[in-house]
């Protein structure tokens, strides 16, 4: 019990500190000027992060024999495109991309809307048992999905959903993290006076939600949407169990490409790249926002 008291004291100070630290930052505060060695190390880290992806392009455009040569190639060639076409004929990558898009859009829409609704209720409405329900939500945030995967599979079979996209969408349609994240944001970003004023003007709770709360918390909804989309796009464990290669997400299609019959490694690499590039492009465009979202989630969550 002491721990909780101690840590909550610690935690309680944090939001204040954050704001203050940010003010300091803008004024120049603690940030030290980076020396040349900082750049050297950071650039090395960046290279390690990015080079495997670049080298995938190289691997995707050379035969096994060329890769096994004494000095392996370091530049891609145009063979990449023919390997990609072979990969597309071997594994249902386009089908997988389309399915992933459907699944992730549905999950993202569901998570953002339902979690914002619940987050609003927990932040601004007082109802009996609210604290208990929130505790259930936060307390189970760390229970891994593997815990329930067998009954979940049996449930999906019973519902006739095994092999269907619905089986992937339903279990992650809401997340406890989402509720908690939105609750925290709404509690701090929407002043009570604003909600009260809307009530005074005769707006009902749903009206208040739609025209006061949602506009005010749109940034947090965007962050939650990006994180949810990325997470569900990359999800592997549950889709591989409940879907087959006849109706795969793109991750399941990778598995069937990598484990099926491919004439050359380069074909597998080309196919993997083909299925990965869309999300990398989106990431390159929204990267700044995603980075901000993860860091914001870290302070909030």
């Amino acid at each position: 019990m002491t721990t909780i008291a101690e840590s909550s004291a610690e935690v309680g100070v944090r939001p204040v500190r954050t704001r203050r630290a940010q003010r300091n930052r803008e004024a120049g505060g603690r940030q030290l000027q980076a020396g040349p060695w900082t750049y050297v190390v950071i650039i090395a880290v960046t290279l390690v992060s990015v080079l495997p992806l670049y080298y995938t392009v190289v691997m995707a455009s050379h035969t096994n024999a060329e890769m096994a040569a004494k000095t392996p190639p370091f530049l891609p060639t145009l063979d990449f495109f023919s390997n990609m076409r072979t990969a597309l004929s071997l594994a249902p990558l386009n089908h997988g991309l389309l399915n992933s898009l459907i699944v992730c859009t549905a999950i993202t829409a569901g998570t953002v809307s339902l979690c914002t609704l619940a987050g609003f209720a927990f932040a601004k409405l007082r109802f009996r048992g609210a604290n208990l329900l929130l505790a259930v939500c936060v307390g189970t945030m760390m229970v891994p999905m593997q815990m329930g995967v067998i009954p979940l599979y049996m449930l999906m079979s019973r519902l006739g959903l095994a092999g269907h996209l619905g089986a992937v969408i339903l279990p992650t349609l809401v997340t406890a993290f989402g509720v908690f994240f939105m609750r925290q944001y709404i509690a701090s970003a929407v002043p009570d006076e604003l909600v009260e004023a809307a009530y005074m003007d005769g707006a009902g709770p749903f009206r208040v939600f739609l025209s006061v709360v949602v506009p005010a918390v749109r940034p947090a909804m965007a962050v939650l949407a990006m994180l949810t989309f990325l997470m569900s796009w990359n999800d592997f464990f549950w889709p591989i169990i409940v879907l087959s290669s006849q109706n795969p997400t793109v991750q399941v299609a990778f598995q069937s490409l990598a484990t099926g019959y491919a004439p050359q490694q380069s074909v597998i690499m080309a196919g993997t790249l083909y299925g990965t590039v869309p999300v990398l492009i989106v990431f390159a465009i929204l990267g700044r926002q995603i980075v901000g979202g993860i860091m914001q989630g870290a302070v909030k969550g």
Partner: protein, 334 residues
């Protein structure tokens, strides 16, 4: 409740200072002007707002978690999953006397340690560097997060070829510096190191950003005070940055522990989608074992016993993390 306690300890219940008790809520309180209106926010409408969440959450998360315990006491087959026959603790007895379980347990532990410890230490260092005033810092932050955006499946397929004994770049590089080539698939430790490398590659940047966020919320005055006391950069890092990051570090350790206990996809794809974890099971994890029991060997009851056991292991690991943290705090205070 332990999990709940732990999440609070981690600072997940961030606003405890303005916590549930003393947040000004919208509820008719004392003032007469509100009492008259009667249907101010609150009361029952709250249930309507949280209902959709709890319906989905209850049906597809809570219910399966609890049902796992029940299924683990039965003999259940995939084909006839509606007929469950009660076997009591037989599944657990079988599990704990099976060498496969202990092998998977040991592998999960070692892969977990090799993939988590270096990862978090590197992430801390990288975060420290990113906290300097850098030109193009957004670029660097996005770049180190690229591996996180790469899916587990894609990353594993890519690294599988990089680690390929004959075609891979890693062995070529070893050869270049006159080191012996390594069998990254067949031998236990190299295979585990390779799998851990994939995990480390994907998650280091992500954790670095978490730490960076934590570092930026440390009061700059503390550094000034330390500098006035004559503390150099290294001592400032030890005595200001690390203590300031304590809740964040604890948070990442707990999350990584939970993630490590469930490692599944990397070793599955590392052996071409087979759940045996290599020809001698040299990298079979508990997650893989569960999958093999349930979906290859058609023993859902046994697999549920494994799942439940994994949960207990995770719980024990998290609790011991927290106890260590608590013990260390006491030590510092003394």
């Amino acid at each position: 409740m332990t999990v709940l306690e732990s999440t609070q300890e981690l600072g997940l219940a961030d606003d405890r200072a303005a916590g549930p008790e003393d947040t000004p809520r919208l509820r008719p309180r004392g003032r007469g002007r509100r009492r008259g209106q009667g249907k101010l926010p609150g009361a029952r409408i709250g249930y309507v707002f949280v209902l959709p969440f709890f319906l989905v959450f209850g049906a597809f998360s809570l219910y399966p978690w609890l049902d796992t315990a029940w299924v683990s006491l039965h003999d259940v087959r995939l084909s006839t999953y509606q007929q469950q026959s009660w076997v009591g603790l037989a599944n657990y007895r079988e599990l704990f006397t099976s060498s496969f379980f202990w092998n998977a347990f040991a592998n999960t532990l070692t892969i977990g340690v090799i993939s988590t410890v270096p990862q978090l230490v590197m992430a801390l260092g990288i975060a420290h560097l990113l906290n300097y005033r850098l030109r193009g810092r957004t670029f660097f932050r996005v770049a180190i997060l690229m591996p996180y955006a790469t899916s587990l499946a894609a990353a594993t397929v890519i690294f599988l070829e990089l680690f390929d004994s004959r075609l891979g770049l890693v062995n070529w590089a070893l050869h270049l510096v006159h080191l012996p080539e390594v069998d990254w698939q067949g031998s236990r430790w190299p295979a585990q190191v390779a799998i851990s490398t994939i995990i480390t590659w994907r998650w280091t940047g992500y954790n670095a950003l978490i730490y960076l966020a934590g570092m930026q919320s440390i009061d700059a005055d503390l550094y000034d005070a330390a500098a006035v006391d004559g503390a150099g950069k290294w001592r400032q890092f030890l005595h200001v940055t690390l203590p300031g990051l304590r809740p964040t570090i604890l948070f990442t350790i707990v999350v990584s522990t939970i993630g490590a206990a469930q490692i599944f996809g990397e070793p599955l794809l590392y052996h071409n989608g087979m759940p045996d974890g290599g020809t001698q099971g040299q990298y079979q994890t508990l997650g893989l074992l569960m999958y093999q029991q349930g979906w290859t060997n058609d023993r859902l009851g046994l697999a549920s016993a494994t799942a439940w056991t994994m949960f207990v292991i995770i719980l024990l690991a998290v609790v011991s993390n927290l106890l260590v943290a608590r013990w260390r705090t006491r030590g510092e205070l003394r």
